[in-house]
């Protein structure tokens, strides 16, 4: 079947802005169109990833680019919204329905803990079981108990990502912190601390995707989408959130592992073929677990992997060169497409001080509420 390529990318920085979601989203979309060397009138179909914005945000945001009658739909899959939207565009092109599509992710979110009524039952909210970090932390506590993962190893992930962010003009926080500063920042939910956690914020990212034929007609040089998969967690396989009970008898495989297996097969690639990774570091521990689930190391050895330095820029398998969500913040609908923008820039060799030398294949991963997980693999 027809290969699909990213031929343009655009990003509005992630942060907090005195601007509407329409302005932020349209800005990213416009930058992607300019980068692709096309105009809005060339786009045949568009997809808007968002979670917190209201219904029909896609048309409201994109009509700022000019009048159109193409199909524009909103796509929501929690933290994986961007991956689910990208997948819809790829499927539309592979099916021959269109040859060129725009995928945009936009979000504008209030500060602090997310509105619990969106994902928790009223009784869970009343009893205080409604902070997302509490669920991430319970996973961390269990991992520490089973495998001896330490608070210092968790802090090292945050240290690495904050340090990488210094070179990323699209990140919200661009400040390096010492391990001591991270480990003495206030606990949010034990063992996760303030400097080890990402904040909801505002931002947008967009890509123009096209069939190989269309790309050649346009004279563009694209990055191939080797695979893009989305799944939700199997029964009782992930107590990230929300959950009120889990099975004590079944050990179902978690969503990252399931999605990774699916996307490696679709791409015909293994973890060893991938040069760089952008993954869901909503908290620093989460990244350690993802190393294991993507196959970067055996289960239980995520802690030693961060100690080894191999996940740093310059290491064998760099992770979160952009600074990750810990530094960029997490505008939920935009976060995956932001990762894709980083990978496109990495594979084009345009990342300056955070460039992974000779990167040819990159993987972007998101994971969130409902066990929604999406992974995209890009190949130069």
């Amino acid at each position: 079947m027809e290969d699909v390529y990213v031929i343009g990318r655009g990003m509005h920085p992630f942060g907090r802005f005195d601007k509407s979601s329409e302005q932020i989203g349209a800005e990213a979309a416009r930058l992607a169109l300019t980068d692709a060397g096309i105009s809005w009138g060339d786009v045949q179909s568009a997809f808007m990833a968002r979670m917190y914005l209201p219904a029909t945000s896609g048309p409201r945001i994109l009509r700022n680019l000019g009048g159109t009658d193409i199909s524009i739909i909103d796509v929501e899959a929690a933290c994986a919204s961007g991956g689910a939207a990208l997948r819809q565009a790829v499927l539309a092109i592979k099916a021959g329905d269109v040859e060129l599509a725009l995928v945009c992710g936009t979000e504008k979110m209030p500060r602090g803990f997310m509105d619990p009524s969106m994902i928790y039952s009223p009784w869970q909210v009343e009893l205080g079981m409604s902070q997302n970090p509490a669920y991430w932390s319970m996973r961390a506590m269990r991992h520490m108990h089973e495998y001896g993962t330490t608070e210092q190893q968790i802090a090292k992930v945050a240290f690495k990502n904050h340090r990488n962010s210094v070179h990323n003009e699209n990140a919200m926080y661009r400040k390096e912190f010492s391990i001591d500063q991270i480990m003495s920042s206030p606990l949010v939910c034990d063992p996760i601390r303030l400097l080890e956690i990402c904040s909801p914020n505002d931002g947008a990212a967009a890509v123009v995707v096209a069939s190989g034929k269309k790309m050649r007609q346009l004279g563009a040089h694209g990055i191939r989408i080797a695979g893009v998969c989305h799944s939700i967690s199997r029964y009782s396989s992930d107590f990230r959130c929300p959950a009120d009970s889990m099975s004590a008898t079944l050990e179902n495989v978690g969503p990252t592992r399931v999605t990774a297996e699916r996307v490696y097969e679709a791409a015909g690639l293994g973890v060893g073929d991938i040069d760089c990774f952008e993954v869901q570091d909503t908290d620093a521990f989460c990244e350690i677990e993802i190393y294991e689930d993507l196959g970067l190391c055996p289960v239980g050895e995520g802690g030693p992997l961060i100690d080894s330095g191999e996940v740093e820029i310059g290491g064998r398998t760099p992770v979160n060169m952009s600074g990750g969500l810990i530094s960029k913040g997490e505008p939920v609908g935009a976060s995956h497409l932001g990762q894709v923008v980083e990978l496109v820039d990495q594979l084009r060799g345009r990342c300056g001080a955070r460039q992974v030398e000779n990167a040819r294949v990159g993987l972007a991963h998101v994971l969130g509420a409902g066990g929604n997980c999406a992974i995209t693999i890009l190949q130069r």
């Binding site: 009343e126 506590m141 206030p186 009970s245 889990m246």
Partner: protein
């Protein structure tokens, strides 16, 4: 003459037994007759196999702490804890070897430890708009 307020569970179908005798109240779970999986509360189908042949069971009082965390900041939204916020534990409590229940922990946070024995406890949380006492649950240290 003063009347005793009516008692209602914090969620319909979550608690088994008469709410007038709190020491006898248990957590309610739904067991699937097809695949055997148990889930918290009263559910009409099984989220594992989709089966609709299910039965209600009440869970044992004793459990083991599988994992936990301490919530250090006031939770968002309609949290009904003390006006002056105090950090508290929540955890996954394994009961009867079949289910792990996500639950508040009413022990001292310094005492919390994976593998510790905990015991189910129901208590009046608040009075609702109708004047009924709302009954909630937690686990406390001790087998």
């Amino acid at each position: 003459m003063a009347t005793t307020p009516r008692r209602v569970p914090i969620k319909e179908g979550l608690l088994a037994g008469s709410l007038d005798r709190l020491s006898e109240v248990r957590l309610c779970a739904t067991r699937c007759r097809s695949c055997g999986e148990s889930t918290l509360g009263t559910n009409s189908n099984c989220p594992n196999c989709g089966g609709q042949k299910v039965e209600q069971v009440s869970l044992a009082n004793e459990g083991t702490l599988y994992t936990y965390t301490v919530v250090r900041h006031r939770p968002p939204g309609n949290y009904r804890g003390p006006d002056e916020f105090e950090p508290f534990g929540i955890g996954l409590v394994e009961v009867d070897g079949v289910i792990r229940v996500m639950a508040p922990l009413k022990s001292k946070i310094e005492d919390l430890e994976i593998g510790m024995k905990v015991r189910f406890h129901s208590y009046p949380l608040r009075t609702n708009e109708a004047g009924d006492e709302v009954i909630a649950f937690a686990y406390t240290a001790g087998g």
